[in-house]
């Protein structure tokens, strides 16, 4: 493995980018096609990250509220049926 550098150096990231280019055939595209393809990919990635952020934040906050209601408010649970 003579050409490979250790992880997380700029040349390794460049090599990963080259692999992405080769696998998705963007190596063969003309410049304007590359711009279109990368902007589409970045838009999709941004949308995915935003969806994950929203989903995870909402899910985590509702799970936290449920936990708080179990611990901090005993009148709100099923045992309050007994008077």
């Amino acid at each position: 493995m003579t050409g490979m550098d250790v992880k997380n150096t700029p040349s390794y990231l460049y090599w990963l980018f080259c692999q992405f280019e080769l696998i998705t055939c963007s190596y063969l595209m003309e410049p304007w096609e590359k711009v279109l393809f990368y902007s589409f990919n970045l838009a999709m990635l941004g949308l995915l990250l935003y969806t994950a952020y929203v989903c995870v934040a909402f899910h985590a906050s509702s799970a936290f509220q449920l936990l708080c209601s179990f611990l901090g408010n005993p009148r709100g649970n099923a045992l309050s049926v007994l008077k």
Partner: protein
């Protein structure tokens, strides 16, 4: 003819692959990990989407049209350019078109000169800059024994014949085109192969496509291997016989077809087939695999079929003295009914031959389309084959021919072993000089060929439709004229490129399991 067989018996020391020193038959067709197939499809999907986008832009006039389109008067007829082949050519092949049809301007020896060619508009048009790229290492020409040479001493007899006969024959074999050179060459080919008689033709492709129709016709059955060359397929289709395909080198598939043919006969009438002929090749040029000849011959003898063996790539390249797959397996040429081969690959000339029993060759002399209509081989080319064959047989007084065969064998073994150790996926038999290296992804085809040319090495890359769509490859042809330094240069370049392009998919090589091959473990070393 009897003297010829006596001579060959006296000069042999015994059968080369007979017991007890049987050679093992090792062939590899390793499958890559699953993620490779997924990435290949991703690549093709992106290419197809952009292909549709570009077609849309061209149809609506947003982009200049350079492609073939119908004229305005043809618009209401059936569309001509909408099928998959044209779509693929326009949008995928065109992007990497600069790696094919590269013009060379020297003899295709172990090194050659390329004309430098650039494109200004992304492979629609090319222009030559006028410079030549010198001494590119040639890993693509079929020059197995290195007879494509310009050495004046080697070509002395060819020059004499050129001055005596000129270049044109200007006639067909049956009219006035049979020269004494052809008779001499045919006798020499028959002696070389150990058969009764042979006939030579001017073109290797035409030998197959014009002679199979003469041998079989309607009412006959052709059993042809899956991966046969286009010339065999064309000859089979032109003949009008029924064609059935068996899986590549798969004897169970062939036996099943033979049994069904004999049990059920012809399709509607159930009469027996007039003739059953099996078409196989010696070495398959896209896979590098060698045919399983002993098993096919035993099947053919059991079911009373005929065998047509196309030794285009194997004559001169395998076998202890270069006599092809028949010698490689230690069999006698009497077992094969029709021996066919070409002079293009190992002899540095052009043309083909068909050899076998005298009755067969006499029939072909009168009934072959090639003999009646095609111009015969020109005399300097015939002389080149004669001198190459005499060199191989040792009749010119030197051992140069045998040295070439040995050098090719050594080069093949070395090249294949090193590529295997590095971790590439290589197809084919360990003894075949054709080495396909799998690339799989369409993006890597273009990158590989361009970067190898930057390092001054010329390779041939193949994609769809010559190979299955997921298995594109680079095909190397090892030559006896390659020196160890040239092979080492190529191997170092392949090592670097393999790391950069991530081509080392093999899971069974030394580089995948280095702990098994430590120097301290002496019992595991060969």
């Amino acid at each position: 003819m009897v003297t010829a067989t006596k001579l060959s018996n006296n000069q042999k020391n015994g059968v080369s692959n007979g017991t007890p020193y049987k050679k093992t038959f090792i062939e590899h067709f390793e499958q890559a990990p699953m993620y490779v197939a997924v990435f290949t499809f991703v690549g093709f999907a992106v290419g197809t989407i952009f292909g549709y986008l570009r077609d849309f832009m061209r149809a609506w006039g947003l982009e200049k049209r350079n492609i073939a389109t119908e004229r305005a008067q043809q618009k209401d007829f059936v569309p001509l350019y909408q099928d998959f082949e044209n779509f693929y050519t326009r949008n995928l092949y065109l992007r990497i078109r600069d790696n094919w049809n590269r013009p060379i301007c020297s003899v295709p020896g172990p090194q050659f000169d390329l004309m430098e060619r650039v494109t200004d508009d992304y492979n629609w048009t090319f222009r030559f800059t006028g410079r030549t790229i010198k001494n590119v290492i040639n890993m693509g020409s079929y020059n197995y024994l290195g007879f494509a040479e310009t050495d004046v001493n080697a070509l002395k007899t060819v020059t004499i014949e050129l001055e005596k006969y000129g270049t044109g024959v200007c006639s067909t074999r049956q009219e006035m085109g049979t020269l004494d050179k052809h008779v001499e060459l045919e006798k020499l080919v028959a002696t070389f192969l150990g058969v009764e008689d042979a006939m030579v033709f001017g073109m290797g492709f035409a030998t197959n496509s014009m002679n199979i129709p003469a041998l079989v016709g309607k009412g006959c059955l052709i059993l042809s291997d899956e991966l046969n060359h286009t010339s065999l397929v064309l000859g089979a289709r032109l003949s009008g016989a029924t064609i059935r395909i068996f899986k590549h080198n798969n004897m169970q598939s062939l036996e099943k077809l033979l049994r069904d043919a004999i049990i059920y006969g012809q399709p509607r009438t159930h009469r027996a087939w007039r003739k059953i002929i099996i078409l196989v090749e010696g070495i398959y040029s896209m896979e590098g695999s060698i045919v399983r000849l002993p098993e096919i011959v035993s099947l053919k003898n059991k079911y009373k079929a005929y065998l047509y063996l196309d030794e285009a790539h194997s004559i001169g390249a395998v076998g202890a003295t270069g006599r092809g797959v028949v010698e490689y397996f230690g069999m006698s040429p009497d077992d094969i009914d029709v021996l066919m081969g070409t002079f293009t690959k190992s002899f540095g000339a052009a043309g083909g031959y068909i050899a076998g029993k005298k009755g067969l060759v006499d029939f072909l002399r009168t009934h072959s389309h090639s003999a009646v209509y095609a111009t015969s081989m020109c005399p300097p080319v015939a002389e080149q084959i004669i001198r190459a064959m005499k060199c191989l047989m040792g009749l010119d007084g030197t051992t140069q021919g045998l040295q070439r065969v040995r050098q090719l064998e050594k080069n093949t073994r070395y090249f294949r072993r090193k590529l295997h150790e590095m971790g590439f996926i290589i197809y084919g038999n360990d003894d075949s000089p054709v080495v396909p290296l799998l690339l799989y992804m369409p993006g890597k085809i273009g990158a590989f060929a361009r970067r190898m040319l930057e390092r001054n090495i010329g390779v041939v890359v193949v994609g769809f439709p010559a190979t299955p769509i997921t298995e594109s490859r680079a095909r190397f042809c090892v030559s006896a004229a390659h020196t160890r330094e040239m092979l080492d240069t190529v191997l170092n370049a392949l090592d670097e490129l393999g790391d950069f392009l991530h081509l080392k998919y093999s899971r069974y090589s030394k580089s995948a399991h280095p702990e098994l091959y430590e120097e301290s473990r002496l019992e595991l070393e060969d």
